[in-house]
Amino acid sequence: MKSGFTPATVLALTCGFAFLYLPILLLVAFSFNESRLVTVWGGFSLKWYGEMLRNRQLMDAAWVTVRIGLVSASLALVLGTLAGVTLARFTRFPGRTVFSGLVFAPLVMPEVITGLSLLLLFVSLGWARGFWTVAVAHTTFASAYVAVIVQSRLLTFDIILEEAAMDLGASPLKTFFVITLPVIAPALISGWLLAFTLSLDDLVIASFTTGPGATTLPMRIYSQVRLGVTPEINAVSTVLIGFVTLGVITATLIQKRRFAEGQKRKA
């Protein structure tokens, strides 16, 4: 069967993507609405963005969130890469089943359970709750995502290259940095970005593990959303969506260009 657009596939794709994107587009559109009401278009206006920038609490929360995201994404990148390498390359070691369980379980674990259990850990360790406890909590679940990305990239990457380097006398560490790392670099970039957005996004785990002075943006958004829809939240959301879209598109373009360069070199 030739692959191509048939009326049925076009219909399925249109409906599917309309469902996925219409709510987001409406949300973005109404952030530019002069009127406070969702259903009334009062003309184009940037006033809600002004409100957003003047909202001290919101801006403080955004800054805390970005800092937590940077710290936890970077830590998660290191831990997740190690875990991904372990899963893909070390097939036999004591406790491998437990290890893979520990890596995969955070992916599906309901957030309320993870949040509660981490909070109780921090309480019994006597750690003061705040910036660092949230960062550690985010590192933990984000590193599982990084591990899965790195693992799947390593599984599609020919192990012969690594073996050749080591046969020629390179140490495993040198092999990793000279051969493996450049090849999995795109996976690492997307892993870091995913870890960062997951951290930026998280409401439940942060609510459990946070302390005074470390209120994150999702927590602020949540407490405002509970009071009802305000265009100011639409403005914040639009900014966040814009950043994430830009990040994902940049990462995709970087990967594409690397791929194209690789093809050119081959030719």
């Binding site: 069967m1 692959s3 657009f5 399925a12 409906c15 599917g16 469902f19 996925l20 987001i24 409406l26 949300l27 109404f30 969702v38 259903t39 831990l79 875990a83 390498v85 372990t86 899963l87 893909a88 097939t91 290890f99 893979s100 520990l102 890596v103 995969f104 379980a105 992916l107 674990m109 309901p110 309320v112 359970i113 509660l116 259990s117 109780l120 850990l121 550690v136 909590a137 933990t140 590193s143 693992q151 599984l155 599609t156 495993p172 560490l173 957005t197 930026l200 996004d201 409401l203 439940v204 958004i221 959303v225 829809v229 939240i233 959301s237 969506i241 994430v244 879209t245 994902v248 995709t252």
Partner: protein
Amino acid sequence: MSGQPAQTPAPYVSPGPQTTAFEVLERTTSAFSFYGVLARFVQWLERSGRTLVIALPFLWLGLFFLAPFLIVLKLSFSETVLAVPPYAPLVAWLEENGLSYLTVRLNLSNYILLFEDSLYVRAFLNSLRISAVATFLTLCVALPLANAMSRAPERWRALLLMMVILPFWTSFLIRVYAWIGILKPEGILNAVLIGLGVISEPLTILNTDIAVYIGIVYSYLPFMVLPIYASFEKMDPSLIEAAVDLGSPPIKAFWTITVRIALPGIIAGCLLVFIPAAGEFVIPDLLGGSETLMIGRTLWLEFFNNRDWPLASAVAIVLLAALTVPIVLFQRHQARRGSEDGAA
């Protein structure tokens, strides 16, 4: 004068490799210099590399993911007290007649309450029901979408794949929030339907179970589409062609061949949706009504509103126990997929 060669002696050139003062200096200080330390560190890393690579994430996840569950388990047997932290110690020294005894007080009242109070029982059953129905609905939306994506021309597929992933990267909270504006009585959906003359009275969708279903399907759709798409893509389309050529109606060919081949992807997708949705808090809290009892929300309320940490822990343990089977299934599935890909 000008013809005379210059009398300056030719500089001495050593026959062997030259040793500059800098190199000597570097060698003598290398044991203490930054690079020296780095070199030693690298040597140490190479000797203990494999152990270290495994141990670091193992220890981290053990400490921050596994150990906390034991604490939750312990706390679920504690008594609630008005103190900071708000629970009584499980193990304590009891002083009596000058002797001290180690006492362990296992308190089962939290669990008894969970199984006797119909509120909690209903919340549990409701969560499992809502999650199961929502998983089925997500599957119904994801199957045609994933199928269409895998049939699209090859150069389109990367773009389509990215378009499915992109919403997953945007904030979960924001995506749920977007639906409030659409579904509320004076929201966009009702305005459109009334404007078209389909209905005369606004529909009540927000704060009902229907809104929760919509929220779960919408939020978790990428988790369902991606694994199914991955198995569809591996499928040989000539199988369907052969079935249709042999007289099978396309729908039947789809069910007997496509769906069966995509079964691993379908199972993975269902688990990826069902497990987290069963413990979902944000969606029932923002889109559901006061009638929508879900256990994740119960846990949250017990913890934050009632400050009953032991009871919240007991809820977490029971939820975890209920989800153990699907979680183990998922973990096995992931591990198997890993080894299959590795062999290929």
